[in-house]
């Protein structure tokens, strides 16, 4: 009997008069893959926001394992192992690909960070980058500024940044959104590999 990784109970979200989510309850079991499918405006991103901690104003409860996390802010949920990628790419646009991934690596221990130049610390971080760089096909681009990458590669970086901290629960918000015709195969392959690898 698989354990419950994430659970929502009677979640309702109202935006003024609009009921974006109406009394949703679901159990998400460990080791399983779930797809949330619906037309535009169905409330998919809203539900993801409730689960990931971006939408705290809601009725009902959210659980991670046994722990109730309904009002836990997003950064605390990340520390519990919940990772989330965004529909509208949110990467660190003015920083290099490497720096983007270094931040993701640093987020594994998000508490006190060294405030001095620490080569040892950085070296250990960099070792974690290689596998993700390969997976996302960004190895040749690792010194480029993230904001200058073509959109498909930015989406790959988005996924890379989300994956690197090795979250227990992975929430992907429309991972293929906005990807052009010629990039769609690579993107789909990456998504499949990611999911299979877990």
């Amino acid at each position: 009997m698989s354990k419950v990784a994430l659970r929502c109970e009677s979640v309702t979200v109202n935006y003024g008069a609009l009921k974006a989510i109406n009394n949703v309850s679901h159990e998400f079991l460990e080791g399983r893959v779930y797809g949330l499918i619906g037309p535009n405006g169905a409330g998919k991103t809203t539900l993801l926001n409730v689960l990931a901690g971006r939408q705290l104003r809601h009725e009902g409860k959210v659980y991670c394992g046994e722990q109730e996390i309904s009002q836990l802010p997003a950064f605390e949920r990340a520390r519990l192992g919940i990772g989330r990628s965004f529909q509208i790419t949110k990467i660190f646009g003015d920083m290099t690909v490497t720096d983007n991934l270094l931040i993701a690596a640093q987020s594994v221990r998000p508490g006190a960070q060294p405030f001095w130049i620490s080569h040892g610390f950085d070296r250990k971080l960099r070792e974690q980058l290689d596998s993700i760089l390969e997976l996302t096909g960004l190895t040749e681009h690792r010194h480029e500024i993230a904001g200058t990458l073509p959109y498909g590669l930015q989406r790959s970086l988005e996924l890379g940044v989300t994956l690197l901290p090795n979250p227990r629960v992975l929430l992907l918000d429309e991972p293929l959104a906005g990807i052009g015709h010629h990039e769609i195969h690579a993107a789909m392959a990456l998504t499949v590999i990611t999911i299979l690898g877990r």
Binding site: A52, R54, P73, A74, F75, E76, A78, R79, R84, F86, K90, I91, F92, G93, D94, M95, D99, L102, I103, A104, Q106, S107, V108, P110, Q113, P114, F115, W116, I117, S118, F121, D122, L125, V161, P165
Partner: protein, 325 residues
């Protein structure tokens, strides 16, 4: 953010000038001016820590500067503490006030943040000017603030005091360079780039902003103490919100977010002020006009533009080299 070639080159130039200056037999007024510039640079660096790194405009920094100045003045004059203890107190109180301000100001963002810091700052000014007059000396101020007393050196000699201030400035710059290139600095840059992403990854963004603000306050407090010591006088004017306005002008002139922008901005401001006031008594207005023009046409500031020109030149050279192969 790693140290760039530009940063190192520029820093070496500044170091060269700074170290050679006392040996060129300068006028006392020039030494005083450069010392003043170094102190204001520490203040501007403190301010840009919040503005350049996180894009938050604070009008509250005059408070941290003034609190530092009063801390030193009162510690040495009223309570007879040694100079360095006064400086330590100034740094501590600058940090404490910054923490206090951040408690109110970080609840809101953008314009509101600026206005909250402005309101809090003005409140402190009014208190210092009126209610706490017995403590601060009101608008008459405190006369005869001390110079350091270390190793028997006479720091009333402007050149000796200059070395003292230069040493502190160097320490501050080293600390800033270290912070910028550190993992901590990287997180700050990430928060600036995309706060939501940093938050979703697990960083307590508010805590980081608070820490940055506190460091900024500590630096400003240090500057305030040094300023009071330089002028040998302390009064509430340092706390007025227009002082915060001045440091904003200096930072923007030099280029916010860059390593040397704060220092260059201060030097540019002070020299412009000296030059302009020699032929008009309305130099502040002319400076305001120059500032407006800089804001419109040179938004990156002096150092920002220099950096851009340098990196464009580098890219052109790289391209030529690659074509030659």
């Amino acid at each position: 953010m790693k140290l760039s070639k530009f940063d190192i080159l520029f820093g070496l130039c500044l170091a060269f000038i700074g170290l050679l200056l006392p040996f060129s037999n300068p006028r006392e007024t020039l030494i005083q001016l450069i010392t003043l510039a170094a102190i204001w640079s520490i203040f501007a660096i403190g301010f840009d820590f919040v503005f350049g790194s996180l894009g938050m405009i604070s009008f509250g920094h005059a408070t941290f500067l003034g609190v530092g100045g009063y801390a030193l003045s009162l510690a040495t004059q009223k309570y007879g503490l040694p100079f360095m203890a006064g400086v330590g107190l100034a740094i501590f109180l600058g940090a404490v006030f910054a923490l206090l301000f951040s408690f109110f100001a970080l609840r809101v963002s953008g314009i509101f943040f600026a206005l909250v810091t402005l309101a809090l700052s003005q409140l402190v000014f009014i208190l210092a000017d009126s209610k706490l007059r017995s403590f601060t000396g009101g608008s008459d101020g405190i006369l005869g603030v001390e110079r350091p007393s270390l190793l028997g050196i006479d720091f009333f000699d402007p050149i000796n005091f200059y070395w003292f201030v230069l040493a502190i400035y160097t320490l501050v710059m080293l600390a800033v360079i270290s912070l910028r290139s550190s993992p901590f600095g990287r997180v700050i840059a990430a928060i600036r780039n995309n706060e939501i992403r940093a938050d979703q990854l697990g960083f307590n963004v508010n805590r980081y902003k608070q820490i940055t603000f506190v460091i900024s306050g500590a630096l400003s407090g240090l500057a305030g103490a040094l300023l009071a010591s330089l002028l040998m006088y302390m009064n509430p004017q340092m706390l007025h919100w227009t002082t915060s306005g001045d440091v904003i002008i200096m930072t923007l002139l030099g280029g916010s977010g860059t390593l040397w922008g704060a220092t260059v901005g201060v030097i540019a401001f002070e020299f412009l002020k000296e030059w302009l006031s020699s032929w008009t008594e309305y130099w502040y207005g002319v400076l305001g006009m120059i500032f407006i023009l800089v804001t419109i046409f040179v938004p990156r500031g002096i150092v920002g533009e220099l950096e851009r020109m340098y990196s464009t030149r580098q890219k052109r050279l790289d391209l030529r080299q690659r074509r030659a192969k």
